[in-house]
Symmetry: C2
Subunit: 469 residues, 2 copies
């Protein structure tokens, strides 16, 4: 299956390393902050820059795709083998806000190389990880002597991921035929660590709601009325307290119905990861582990659904005291979902549970935002094996498996394209996504390049093998 000689790939990458980093730095200088309206022009400039760069890379098609919000970039490079599978790479070119005064040691939009580290906003999330695909496909061609990739290669790089991808679903539905693929490669995740390269096999889904409870029509005096009317702040607390049972399982009826349980094989693979709970707690800035009985911390964050309070509020929260029974109180909940769960079904379950739980004398409203479905690639999926194999060649060591506790637009691609989603990310936890002094490890970035240089040939072969049966 080694169509590509590894040494040729490595030589090619070393020869182009400097130019690759220079080009990436140029892109990182564009402050494409999608959340800040005054950077809208920069987000567009970032899209245009990338489209031009992809043309230069060799993609016959590379263009800016408009949305109702910030523009995306689409590129396509058909294989010279018409029977080859089609792969869509997903990433994003917008970045989180960043300002020197947030604690950056250097200007977040003036990339700085320090040893093996390239510091800049977007270095890891996600410009660096989109960009390794450019040198990767060229290394693939150079080392194999091809003039076109072994797969039909497509790239879709959105510009609103850091703003919650508000137009992504619309975008992919509008261009469904054009972006159609046999597999999706998402390069917007990370690995376990520098020493332990991993492939992520799924992300949790997400459903978010706000529950507002209304008691008295206005704040009323807690002396005159206290003890004799329902208090919406007390009731919102009772609702939250009823959210979990004594085993820290979510107590909403039907919550766990139909979920895909962790297999023993996957639990065993998770257990192979060098997990240090004390260290993880430091990363979590937390002072204790707590979660569903019968599961490890990794299983809890990757493979078990959750209900978390993101915010709670009602009544007087300022300095000192105010002796009122508040008129209303609210709680914002987010639910992380695993395969087999569905945001719409969850919404129904939550609405029924709230209606059953809130006592007489309290009105309630429940508002859900659009949800994100979970996605999961089974460990025995041939394309997943291809990714792990290509990564194994680049890293020269066995690849383990993780999942992501978070949620992303990958699920939309899975749904709209009806294609398996695979994750290829080389970022490590210390890269500081969304934080000051974001960086990417340059050697890992080049491992990303190398992995894709092997991946397209491997995937094409896997495809041929599968269709030969």
């Amino acid at each position: 299956m080694s169509e590509t000689p590894d040494s040729a790939v490595r030589t090619y990458i070393q020869n182009h390393r400097a130019a690759f980093l220079d080009d990436l730095a140029e892109w990182l200088r564009i402050p494409s902050v999608s959340a800040q309206p005054d950077h809208a022009g920069d987000v567009r400039r970032s899209a245009e820059w990338l489209a031009a760069q992809l043309k230069e890379t060799g993609f016959p098609t590379a263009e800016v795709l408009e949305t109702a919000g910030a523009p995306a970039v689409f590129a396509e490079w058909p294989s010279d083998d018409p029977q080859a599978p089609t792969v869509l790479v997903y990433g994003h070119h917008d970045v989180q806000p960043a300002a020197r005064e947030d604690g950056w040691h250097t200007d977040p939009f003036e990339p700085v190389v320090q040893g093996n580290r390239l510091h800049a906003r977007g270095a890891a999330d996600d410009k660096g990880q989109v960009f390794f695909h450019t040198l990767g496909v060229r290394a693939h061609l150079a080392a194999t002597g091809r003039t076109a990739p072994a797969v039909h290669l497509k790239l879709l790089v959105e510009g609103e991921e850091e703003s919650g991808s508000p137009h992504f679903r619309q975008l992919i539905e509008a261009h469904k035929e054009r972006i159609a693929a046999d597999a999706v490669i998402v390069s917007d995740t990370g690995m376990w660590s520098e020493d332990t390269p991993t492939v992520c096999t799924g992300m949790r889904g997400l459903a978010e709601c706000e529950i507002e409870l209304h008691g008295p029509d206005q704040d009323i005096h807690s002396g005159s009325f206290g003890g004799a009317v329902p208090n919406p702040a007390t009731e919102v607390a009772r609702l939250v307290a009823a959210l979990h049972d004594e085993h820290a399982r979510v107590a909403i009826p039907g919550f766990y119905e139909g979920i895909v349980e962790l297999t023993d094989a996957e639990r065993a693979l998770f257990a192979e990861l060098p997990f240090d709970e004390e260290r993880w707690l430091r990363t979590a800035k937390s002072h204790g582990a707590h979660g569903e009985a019968g599961y490890t911390t990794l299983e809890r964050i990757w493979a078990r659904p959750t209900a978390e309070v993101n915010g709670i509020g009602g009544g007087y929260q300022g300095a000192g005291s105010k002796t009122i029974i508040p008129s209303s109180a609210l709680v914002k909940l987010s639910f992380r979902l695993v395969a087999g769960q569905d945001p719409d079904r969850l919404e129904e379950a939550v609405r029924a549970w709230v209606a059953d739980t809130v006592p007489a004398g309290i009105r309630h409203t429940v508002t859900f935002s659009p949800g994100t479905r979970p996605c999961l690639t089974p460990l025995d999926h041939p394309a997943l094996k291809s990714v792990a194999r290509a990564m194994g060649r680049a890293f020269e060591q066995p690849i383990l498996f993780t999942r992501e506790g978070g949620s992303g637009p990958a699920a939309d691609l899975q749904d709209v394209l009806a294609a398996p989603v695979l994750f290829l990310g080389i970022s490590v936890p210390s890269d500081g996504w969304h934080a000051p002094n974001e960086k990417v490890e340059i050697d890992l970035l080049l491992k990303g390049v190398e992995t894709t240089a092997y991946l397209w040939g491997d995937l094409a072969q896997t495809w041929r093998d599968a269709h030969a049966h």
Copy 2:
């Protein structure tokens, strides 16, 4: 016991009604809002105005008493009978904030008479109720032909009640000898209704605290960490949910220890009041009654201790959603206490309960503000009977008994002076304390005048009778 002929009192009051209302209006024009620093000058002006007015009324002593905050007024008129008891009247001359744009139909500080109603901020709470003592003592003298009151009469009118009386305890401790009294008459409460005149026999005490729970050292991502670390917003909710048992009784160990239970006699008297729960719920702007099992609504608000959430907060409360586990969450609780309870003992109980309830991995802080003790005058106290008798003559109907659910500085007077506290208030629930368009019913105000015109003679007689035994 009718030293004072009722008709003489009524004639005197009718003859002085116009001047009395004019004077009151002049006082109401001074916006003595203690909570707003830019009205500090007005609060002082209000004190000076009152001291001058009390001199004019005939008090040999009437002066402004300084505190570390806003000034109070003290006045004293010794009886011509050196054996007479000493009575201290308490009220306050500061008012709640008020602005036309809050929903006032007229300028809150430009008194307007509409039929039987005098509208202005402070008309009922509390300038009107302090002021009826001026015409009252003059009617007492005029109708009895005395030159000095039948009791040693003292007035203490504070200027910070609407700001929580922060210096009141200091004030009365500093002037303990000077304000010493055999009984305290508090004129800062209300009656059941215009048709059902009542005397209040007690107020609940108050203890207030803020409990803050600390989880992660900063907000953390609910996708990356959700389900595996304790969430302080969830835990603050669980704490609040644990505050009451399924009978809506406060579940803090020791909470009910030593409380003075309602007697059957007082429950029977409460039950005589024409209580309309539907109507009460409308006043409470609430959509259901809810409280401790085994007690009526009136018993719950007057005679049972409570724990209420005044505010709860943590994490993200803005529009939309934010997928975090918040770093901290807080709840502000207020406890209403009844006779036999004590804010200091409660504080200990709450601290122990919080420490026992909050789980590992969550740090907590508990902060109490200075508490207010409950006060209660037994129904068979001779001075209480005097007040009820004087009111009965003024209103020409039997007087029933209530309590106040709220809390006030009366408890400090009870503690520092070691004297029984009696409540003489003529305000009715529709007067709109702290609300826009506050008013007082003029005929009730004059009943207040009339009551005090009878009261001093009655109390002096009661005192003589008690000491004759």
